[in-house]
């Protein structure tokens, strides 16, 4: 394995560099997944049938908490990559843990939100609107849930093996995934919630 020391560890081998490029291409496909969900949401959001509309069920407080928590977690994962490049393993792990904790808080609030929606009569089968709303939010939430497990596994590997070309590469790719989820949330926040409550 040829290691180029002029680059950050996560880019230091050809394999590592290509894994990062490959992950970007995967994110391109993820963009399409969410684009189809958004397209469906915009088409179906008027089809409320006998169920409630978005304006009737959206609450600003949990949405704001989710947004701030996710923005902050995106900031801490960015600091994780920075600390990793400085070779500060303890600080890097601290930021990593902070990100996972914030992700768990986000998920907790989202679960509360889902319970609230079902409680006020907007379940998965109520109307076209409620179905696509819960599917869109749920797909994002499932990504966050997967991220929590994936991140935890990488964190354990960093603790076990230290900052190696392998573990830093995994951590960097995880940071790309996490930032991407934040980008998706920004569009959900803007065009599902704020547009719905406008």
């Amino acid at each position: 394995m040829k290691i180029d020391h002029s680059l950050p560890l996560e880019y230091s081998t050809d394999e590592n560099r290509l894994k990062i490029l490959g992950f970007w291409i995967f994110l391109g496909a993820e963009v399409m997944l969410f684009a189809t969900l958004f397209a469906s949401y915009f088409i179906l959001s008027g089809g409320t049938g006998d169920g409630p509309s978005g304006a009737e069920i959206f609450e600003i407080t949990p949405v704001l908490i989710e947004t701030l928590v996710l923005l902050t977690s995106s900031f801490t994962i960015g600091l994780m990559v920075h600390a990793m490049r400085l070779g500060r393993q303890k600080a890097m792990m601290g930021f990593f843990i902070a990100t996972i904790v914030l992700g768990a808080i986000f998920l907790g609030v989202e679960i509360y939100e889902f319970v609230h929606y079902v409680h006020v009569g907007a379940g998965l089968q109520t109307s076209a609107f409620s179905a696509i709303l819960l599917t869109t939010l749920g797909t994002h939430g499932a990504h966050v849930t997967f991220g929590l497990f994936w991140g935890t596994c990488i964190l354990i590997q960093v603790k076990k093996y230290g900052l190696t070309p392998r573990t830093t590469n995994k951590s960097f790719i995880f940071s790309l995934y996490w930032h991407f989820l934040d980008v998706v949330w920004i569009f959900i926040f803007s065009f599902v919630y704020l547009k719905g409550m406008m």
Partner: protein
Amino acid sequence: MMKELFPMKQVMGFIFSLVLTAVALMVYFFDMSFAVGMTILLVTAFIQAGLQLVLFMHAGESEDKNAIYITIYYGVLIAIFTILGSLLTMVWTYQIQ
């Protein structure tokens, strides 16, 4: 050293993203027309997304820079075509009678 763990660029990026969120929230707290509200949301959302990509995701730092940017542009372009095309054929067309 605590300071080296919090680079200015990232702290400023975080503050800027909070400001953009606050600007987007104006559509909730103030009365405005649909067109003005949507314009605010589109502008703030796309700046936010760009901020994440360039500042936090380091999109332009490796030698694969071009391939990465082409992937993003392509993905976003197809996403916009899909969303606007769906709206055009299934929502807007029905309003023009």
